[in-house]
Symmetry: C2
């Protein structure tokens, strides 16, 4: 299956021509794989529109009609089966096919991991319960105690994702991270939790890139460095923090500094709904939207495709970055795992809670 005629087709002259285009058949295969990949993540039948939407999260842009066309082909090949008008599900054969061709994927970029996490989290906004995605840092409790004040200030100034956090004791695990003896796990809500919540409300928010955001008087000014999620295996904010390129000191002092933030985009029609939901997020301590663009309008000079709006979301790892800035080497892991919402507490409680870990 999927043997393609393999450009033997060098024309008499201009022999190189066939080389540059990846080849038609190859493109088709790639698209099929992409679709199967989306289907793989879902348990219930998915419709073509939904698939298109999910695909667009990963910057794959083709129309709903085209997706439907491919689905038809996939049906014919037995890789998917239609479930009436509910949509399609992937078959065993489809999974196998995916397996065999998964080798031609790049080693896990962050986008992939983000998608996964979004599917797995369960937080329900009206119920205020379920799991959220968190970042975890392993730190020496004494060093942490030293930095209680600036950490709280990062929250207070709104440079953190929401107002919530939690602490883990030695021996506890989160995802694949085990808190070792003599350390404490410092968890903050990861900003992609927002994406997850929005997706459950039918708003497909796509993460474009993470970067260092220059703030002036507490307002977002511009990105000084960026790394696209689609092109990295390591979390951009993690990198900037470890490299000591941030400047939270200034940010919490007088509102001028460099903080971690990320750029996302969503369909223009969802804008108003995002504003409504954003308000409710603030109420439950998960507010994170720093800026929201206008349809078609560049945001901080960053252009958005037509029909979409841009948004700036503050980085989840921000509070812990002040430790690194104080030359304390810490181990941070973005997207480390899921945690129940009711295990989180407001940052104001942080100093008191920390006592029991010292």
């Amino acid at each position: 299956m999927y043997t393609w005629p393999q450009s033997h087709l060098k024309s008499r002259r201009g022999g190189e021509i066939a080389v540059f285009g990846a080849g038609r058949m190859q493109k088709k295969i790639d698209k099929k794989i992409a679709i199967l990949n989306v289907l793989k993540e879902q348990t219930r039948p998915v419709s073509s529109a939904k698939i298109t939407e999910l695909l667009s999260l990963g910057s794959l842009m083709f129309s709903e009609r085209t997706v439907r066309l491919y689905l038809k082909e996939l049906d014919a090949e037995g890789l998917t089966i239609p479930h009436g008008r509910k949509g399609r599900v992937i078959t065993e054969a489809g999974l196998a096919e995916l397996q065999s061709s998964t080798i031609r994927q790049l080693p896990g970029t962050l986008s992939a991991k983000i998608d996964q996490m979004i599917y797995r989290m369960t937080f329900d906004l009206p119920m205020r319960s379920g799991t959220v995605v968190v970042n975890t840092s392993l730190v020496d409790p004494d060093q942490l105690a030293d930095c209680v004040e600036p950490v709280c200030k990062v929250f207070a100034k709104g440079f953190a994702m929401g107002k919530l956090m939690t602490l883990l004791r030695p021996g506890e695990t989160i995802g694949e991270v085990l808190v070792p003896e003599g350390r404490v796990g410092f968890c903050t809500v990861c900003s992609i939790t927002i994406n997850g919540i929005l997706l459950k409300h039918g708003i497909p928010m796509a993460s474009r890139f993470g970067g260092l955001l220059e703030v002036r008087d507490g307002k977002a000014l511009r990105f000084t460095e960026i790394i696209h999620y689609g092109g990295t295996s390591i979390d951009p904010l993690e990198v900037f923090i470890r490299s000591g390129m941030t400047n939270y000191h200034g940010a919490i002092q007088d509102g001028n500094g460099l903080i971690g933030a990320s750029f996302r985009e969503l369909p223009s029609e969802s804008r108003q709904r995002l504003i409504n939901i954003g308000q409710r997020l603030e109420e439950v301590g998960l507010g994170a939207i720093m800026e929201l663009g206008l349809p078609e309008q560049p945001l901080l000079d960053i252009p958005v495709p037509s029909g979409r709006v841009g948004a700036i979301i503050v980085g989840g790892l921000n509070p812990i970055a002040v430790l690194e800035e104080r030359e304390h080497r810490i181990f941070s892991r973005a997207l480390s795992g899921l945690i129940e919402y009711d295990r989180l507490f407001r940052f104001e409680e942080f100093p008191r809670r920390l006592q029991s870990y010292l």
Copy 2:
């Protein structure tokens, strides 16, 4: 010019559909802009084949025929003019058009900078003269003296780009970097010099990503982290080094460690020529090719598009990374500028030369 019908075209039902695809017209515009961008960099007429080739350096994949089609349209719009069979050049109007739509570009990714540097360098392999692209690190001469041995070892073990380097005195400048009083500028040849040299020989080598390469017994094993050049504003290797994620200590000790390297690809037919040129590069102290894949074959599990081969190139910044690993904070700038080839000397001279800077 370039007003597009702007998706008012919501169909009666399924109103969202039009949103996901970026729109046909938009796609066309993007392609035209891309072509104009290529043309802008060139002074002499360029043919459609050449343009396709250059375009493919930036992962834009469409066929030579398609480029020709667009060129025709551009001609008609007066943005380019055909120069007989030599090719096309961009017109004033074309440049203006580019200017006005340049706003919808992302802030300078590294790819863009790489392209620029490649065009500007002038090194000529047969003549062994001209300029090459270098990375510069500003370091305390005493700290540097401490690390002479490991630095030389990185070169000796072949974990550096070639065998050459140079030193700059306080007050000298390279690109936009000025060596301050009390520091010395440590320059190594940047690995994209290879791309530039190859391009002059008609081989379009595209840089895909930089990453941390795990070496086992001195052999490349796999990438543990990667960042695509197309998606970052900051040099990946710079980042990994600053984050302290490398392990040169091990690499030069027993051949097991983590070093900076980058993944590139080129057309399959160029493979043999690359081998030949690679040999000559070794002779002039610019050897950097660690691994070269086979056509169609994944290299270190990294797939390549059909008709292309992958290559692993060692990172130019590698020698200086040992300093960072010894906890010496240094300032490094990849792609800092151009320097004359004859100002470089072999690393064996490094200890002696350094004396005069102490």
